[in-house]
Symmetry: C2
Subunit: 302 residues, 2 copies
């Protein structure tokens, strides 16, 4: 049974009508602008607070991304790994779409997840220690890469994983070049200040299908049209090695990809240590730990 709480500031999947709720939690910690707080300038912290988004180019070198990409291909050809639950295939084919808990199956990606170039940014914005809530790699191959429909990650993490507040920051690291043509991440900058309460009830074991194509927890078209009209849509484009940091509650998605050029990325979610998971807010049982890590294993500071 879902945990019953006296008051949930982010109710979702509980009513028949969607609605848009103002976010009450801060986006960045007050300490983020203090001298020595971390690698970001005050302007960058301001931009993240306003947009829910920060795009940095040349974070990783070409040598590094080449190494990561080779590791990605090695993993996707690993039949033993493929048989595990942490590997999600495309609906209707056995092509690998995502590998979850990538930091547990690859030392190389484990190092990337702990890398100060990523973790220090999120520690600065959170003003405290962080741990990995979720890690994965997404493939989006050329010719037939499928779309990811609009969603707020926090909507799912709150309802199905029990994340109390939107104090998680995702880092999406481009392992291949992102162009306007190969289905880059699209976000509505500023939409992290609104919470779209979705309709429907979470079915048991929803994650088994939702990671291929989400149905429950999908925002309604009216809410999406309102957000798009208010905030617009941007798609950061950059070479392999660029990183998009984004707020857990930002509305985002991506189109499919018919170009010959794959759009592969690594995706790490840095949750504030004080924002540990509780019971799910709108699901009968939490999702398995390879999708939502339930232990707070604080990342060591470098």
């Amino acid at each position: 049974m879902p945990t019953t709480r006296t008051f949930d500031r982010y109710p979702t999947r509980v009513a028949n009508e969607p609605r848009i709720i103002d976010r009450t939690d801060p986006v960045v910690a007050a300490s983020a602008r203090e001298p020595g707080a971390g690698p970001l300038t005050t302007e960058q912290v301001d931009a993240f607070e306003r947009d829910g988004l920060l795009f940095l180019e040349d974070v990783f070198t070409k040598d590094e991304t080449d190494r990561y990409l080779a590791e990605l291909h090695r993993l996707s050809a690993d039949d033993e790994l493929r048989a595990q639950e942490r590997v999600i295939t495309e609906r209707g084919t056995d092509e690998v779409r995502s590998i979850f808990e990538i930091h547990r199956v690859s030392d190389l990606f484990a190092r990337m997840a702990r890398d100060a170039r990523l973790a220090d940014v999120t520690r600065q914005l959170h003003g405290e220690d962080v741990y990995l809530h979720q890690t994965r790699v997404n493939f989006k191959p050329g010719f037939r890469g499928k779309e990811f429909y609009w969603h707020s990650d926090f909507e799912t993490w709150h309802s199905e994983d029990g994340m109390p507040t939107p104090r998680a920051i995702s880092a999406s690291i481009a392992l291949t070049d992102n162009t306007e043509h190969n289905g880059p991440l699209m976000v509505m900058p500023g939409s992290h200040t609104r919470f779209v309460s979705c309709v429907g009830e979470t079915p048991d074991d929803n994650y088994r299908s939702s990671l291929q194509a989400q149905e429950v927890g999908t925002p309604d078209e009216d809410s999406l049209s309102q957000l798009a009209a208010e905030f617009g849509i941007v798609a950061p484009k950059g070479l392999a090695g660029s990183v998009v940091f984004f707020d857990s509650n930002i509305m985002h998605g991506s189109n499919g990809n018919i170009t010959p050029f794959a759009r592969s990325n690594a995706f790490f979610v840095y949750n504030a240590a004080s924002n540990a998971l509780e019971g799910p807010f709108a699901a009968s049982a939490p999702r398995p730990s390879h999708i939502a890590h339930r232990e707070v294993e604080v990342l060591p500071r470098s």
Copy 2:
């Protein structure tokens, strides 16, 4: 039975291996650069010859595109029209994807097809009279617009309709704004100088499924990768009222569209009067006349 000819310079759907053939026919007529030949400058004719593509903005006014868009919505709600073969719905839904022979069902679109701003350009490039080989409107709605996979129109028009040479020019008129986000037309500029011979045999009545999602006549991934490496990919973006003219043999396609913003366009194909259809080059019977007009009805010069 397919017409047997002694020599076909653009063989396709006849062998088990794909191959890339150099185009032997000219792209523009010698007369296209003569003074008074038409509205395009010599530089624009050069660009079309080189790229197979010409993008013109502000060809139609906002008032005009608003009127065309209203007509489009009126037609898509017309149940009697919807029951006709000329209306193609999306695979798996009854949402309208395309309406063929639009110049026969709408006086407004018939006027647009004859408009000198379109027809004069194609007459200039062809150096002769033109007629409408195919006309249609495409909807590509917001949220769930489907992709059009890579293809050369001429490959289909040659094999299934019997168009002898790639002397047809398409005009795609934006009825809504085209952005980088809502699945704009992508082309490989220069690819009109290569003909990708496709594998497979045309099934009977292929058009019934191919207009929802093409299978036979689809270029292979190696050929597409080669063309993309040689020519790159561009996607002209512009407000409603802009027009892309493109060569019938250019490799093009478009991604899906999850944004709230529809990408609707009108699409008219101006074939050179001397390039009238023969029997299909690789199909047992020609497609119906609402898809490929078999009568050469020369458009009046204004």
